[in-house]
Amino acid sequence: MSQPSALSTNGLSRRKFMAGTVSAAAAAPLLASRAEAATPVAAEPKLRQPVVTSLRINEQPYELSLDTRTSLLDALRDHAGLTGTKKGCDHGQCGACTVLVDGKRVLSCLSFAVMNEGKDITTVEGLASSDGKLHPMQQAFIDHDAFQCGYCTPGQILSAIGCVNEGHAESENDIREYMSGNICRCAAYPNIVAAILQARDETKGA
């Protein structure tokens, strides 16, 4: 067992970062600050030696202090505060965690965060333009009701963009095959295929 490290969650402290994320998130206003206020500040946690990792996510630089075992998925969700990327299995079996790394679709649960230093990561939060205009694939998913619960949806959308860019969306059969790594338990499959057909050409240009 390695020595407990004196280095805490340094760099960008996770706690501070999360508080910052929360104040910007309308969904849970005040939640963090209240919970934090109610809690005595804990002693500095003893962790396995953390590694400061630089990631470029949705064109923004992030410095995260991470356990080397942290998956890219958990780094996004628990450390960068980007919870749009979902965990459905943590084993590379469902596709919910799909993100784009340097433009290619990747299962973020199967990739250690530290392996992604210097790479360009795109998550669902980075798809719409800054004026709020949706990516054509996002709009197509709405138009074709390509989800029900919505949990698999961020992964489906990123995977769909990857699928188009790979050139694997030329026929309906191709789309079905190359989108089969993304399980939708609500079973919106026919609608997902229709959405990808609608957004295909615009996505290629995007």
């Binding site: 962790l47 459905g88 469902c94 009701d145 619960c149 919505g150 079905r176 095959e177 338990r185 609608n191």
Partner: protein, 759 residues
């Protein structure tokens, strides 16, 4: 018009896009494990590796040495709180940390809490249990099962229905079958993992957890923790698929709440996919024996359905689908009996169409066999046996559009082109088969409360503690308010999934749309009444008009005469900034305690087979084409058509999506889904999404949903029959029927796999 948004027919609402669609495609829909919470600690479960026995010792030293470990909650630590209860909101009576007895494989033995997810996982894996092990009983036919009658074991299953003299009628029948069928263990496997996040602010507890029953959980969790329910809040704004799995609360919730209390910090525990197989509920395996007797003219004279269902040792979970199968056709005589078979397993629970999925599968597979025995077209066979009243209590159906569903689906499918000869239809190396089956689901409704506020600016705020599990209930509730208040849907905000909102019943039994929309309707109509009273009062802009002549549209009250008044002006004249109404809906036949029970989290269900005046069901007909490779016996389902009638359709888009999802579930149940059990250890083997097979995109090709118009004012004020669970009933039997048509092989045990077709 595009397939996802069918053009509304009679008694159907517009296919508006979901009100939360934008949140869902941008990653802004916050599921319970997504909500950012400061200073959070992470929990990981350690679970048993045996199915029966006792934990004699728990070794925690290695786990405690993990850097970042904060706490371990285990035996003794839950002594001050009460054990879970089975039934209503509770998944099981097993309090895993109250007792060192192990009732099933994968039972929780400890919760490790640490600064990081990685440290918590590492610590949980280092917890070592020592056991006094006994030989467990796995399932049917394992030594040590106990078989007991199911009737009366659950408030939802009171009796074994019967009618007439089955024995005599069956003995006399000219044509008969006597067959056995089975369905396997299945796990819901919603894509969202099960999780609990708990934090305390003083004595106030907040739990973020995906739930189909926030009110019921609030009350049950408060009972376990021995605190006032007013001090507990369950938050579940978005649920990543449920299918029944998030209806009953499992023991994990209280354990995480206790961990958060001990630590004085928020704790989040996300259960792994593998652990969920043992710590959540599931659909237990079932067996069936069906006997049908008929005259040569095809009229059924005798029907018997016996069912056997596995459950855990301590909890008598029953599905008992004979109530529906016993009422399906004009049988003459009916005999049913359901038994529970107790084994050393975790307690099962409801999963999408709990009674109907297995029982109607068996019935409809038998109906197809009977049609073959009679040399009759299977659609014609059902037509001949269409009942005027249900055979058990001789009550009328409030509405029944089954034959119309068959006609419309058969037409769209091209059933007339089917060559009935076995194996006659081929396409190159593919054997083609076509089959059909009936879908049925009881139409129930429960009490529900809602609060609606209309402001002078024309905005509407709708609050109801129901649950958006993907059904679109948020959208259809908004649509109901939009219609009744004449306000466009984008001015309506809908809040759901929080126990601090007006209570709604559990989102199970396909009751949500009917119950929620009935409450929203009441609240909106109370607002209308106030507006109309003000507008038609002496000196008001529409003085002299009667309420029946008025409509609300486009922010105005419009009279038949053409005169109108802006809602804004009416509110100003009333000198109010908003009208807010709190409505409590109780269905016809509700007991005097019905609303009290709603607040207590134990709502009563009405409808289905429970009412005096009529029985209430939604129906559908499904047709499938299968293709079976001559050489490899690979089975594909390239085409499926379903026609369904379910009273008023609030939104054709969300209705179609639910039915479509159900039909695809049905294909999965026919060909893929099964949790395999290692009989030696009573252990689930394929505990992940690689080996627990569910349909993927490539499994589905041409799928058509037909919404058949139906008007049924008797079911509830909204006129709505639930359809979230209708679509996957019958599908597996239609597939079995098509496989028989293609190959001449009658498969009676699900799932139908290549190996069954090779022998």
């Amino acid at each position: 018009m595009d397939a996802a948004a069918p053009r509304p027919k009679e008694n159907m609402g517009e296919p508006l896009p979901r009100v939360d669609a934008r949140l869902k495609v941008t990653g802004q829909a916050h599921y319970p494990a997504d909500l950012p919470i400061a200073n959070i600690a992470y929990g990981a479960l350690a679970t048993s590796s045996i199915a029966k026995g006792k934990v004699t010792k728990l070794r925690l030293d290695d786990a405690r040495a993990v850097p970042g470990l904060l706490d371990i909650v285990t035996y003794g630590d839950m002594d001050k709180v009460d054990k879970p209860k089975f039934g209503n909101s509770g998944a099981t009576s097993i309090g895993p940390l109250h007792d060192r007895t192990i009732f099933h494989d994968g039972q929780i033995v400890a919760l490790a809490v640490a600064e990081t997810f990685e440290a918590a996982e590492e610590a949980a894996r280092l917890i070592r249990a020592e056991y006094e092990e006994e030989k467990p009983t796995a399932t049917f036919d394992s030594p040590g099962t106990a078989t007991i009658p199911a009737a009366g074991k659950s408030p939802l299953f009171k009796e074994d229905v019967k009618a007439g003299d089955f024995d005599a009628a069956y003995a006399d029948a000219a044509v008969k079958i006597d067959q056995r069928y089975s369905t396997p263990t299945q796990h819901h496997n919603p894509i969202e993992l099960f999780s609990t996040t708990a934090f305390w602010e003083g004595d106030q507890l907040t739990v973020h957890e995906p739930s189909q029953n926030v009110t019921g959980w609030k009350v049950e969790l408060a009972r376990q923790l021995k605190i006032d329910p007013a001090k507990v809040r369950i938050v579940s704004p978005f649920i990543g698929g449920a299918f029944g799995s998030k209806g009953p609360m499992t023991p994990r919730t209280a354990i995480v709440a206790v961990a958060a209390k001990r630590l004085g910090r928020p704790v989040r525990c996300v259960t792994s996919r593998m652990q969920a197989f043992g710590t959540q509920t599931y659909r237990a395996e079932t067996r069936h024996r069906i006997r049908i007797g008929a005259g040569r003219d095809g009229h059924i004279t005798a029907f018997a359905h016996e069912g056997w269902e596995v459950t855990s040792r301590p909890d008598p979970y029953v599905v008992g689908g004979t109530s529906a199968t016993g009422r399906m056709y004009d049988y003459g005589s009916v005999l049913t009996h359901v038994s529970l078979v107790q084994a050393d397993r975790n307690t099962p629970g409801y999963m999408r169409s709990p009674p109907e999925t297995p029982y109607v599968y068996a019935l409809e597979n038998a109906m197809d066999e009977m049609a073959v025995a009679l040399g009759m077209d299977p659609v014609e066979f059902r037509r001949i046996n269409e009942p005027k009243t249900e055979p058990i209590g001789k009550k009328p159906f409030s509405s029944r559009s089954l034959i119309r569903c068959y006609d419309e689906a058969a037409e769209a499918f091209g059933w007339a082109k089917r060559d009935p000869k076995i194996g006659a239809m081929r396409d190159g190396e593919w054997l083609v088969g076509m089959g059909c089956a009936t879908a049925i689901y009881p139409t129930a409704v429960a009490p529900c409360a809602a609060r609606v506020r209309l402001t002078v600016d024309g905005d509407v705020r709708l609050q109801c503690g129901s649950h958006e599990i993907g059904t679109g209930v948020r959208t259809v509730a908004g649509q109901m308010a939009s219609e009744r208040l004449g306000v466009s849907i984008d001015r309506i905000s809908v809040e759901m999934g929080d126990s601090s909102l007006p209570p709604a019943p559990v989102s199970g039994g396909s009751i949500s749309t009917a119950s929620v929309c009935s409450a929203v309707l009441m609240a909106c109509d109370a607002i209308r009444t106030k507006l109309y009273a003000a507008a038609t009062a002496e000196g008001g802009p529409l003085a002299g008009s009667h309420n029946e002549e008025l409509e609300l549209a486009g922010g105005k009250i419009v009279a038949k005469s053409g005169a109108s008044a802006k809602v804004e002006d009416v509110l100003k004249a009333m000198q109010v900034g908003a009208i807010e109404e709190y409505a409590e809906f109780a269905p016809k036949g509700a007991t005097p305690d019905a609303l009290k029970k709603l607040y207590a989290g134990t709502p009563e269900f009405h409808g289905g087979d429970q009412d005096e005046d009529s029985v209430k069901y939604a129906f559908g007909a499904e047709f499938v084409e299968v293709r079976i490779n001559r050489h490899t016996r690979e089975i594909r389902v390239p085409r499926i058509v379903g026609a369904f009638a379910a009273g008023r359709i609030m939104n054709t888009r969300t209705a179609r999506s639910q039915l479509m999802g159900g039909m695809i579930w049905g294909i999965g149940q026919a060909l893929q889904e099964a949790t395999e059990i290692d009989r030696r250890y009573a252990r689930y083997v394929n505990r992940d999404l690689q080996d627990y097979l569910v349909p993927v995109n490539a499994d589905i090709k041409d799928l058509q949903v037909i919404l058949v118009p139906e008007v049924d004012p008797a079911v509830n004020p909204a006129g709505v029959k639930g359809l979230g669970e209708l679509g996957n009933v019958g599908t597996a039997a239609a597939v079995a029927s098509a496989v028989y048509h293609a190959t001449g092989k009658r498969i009676r045990d699900l799932p139908i796999r290549i190996e069954q077709l090779l022998v």
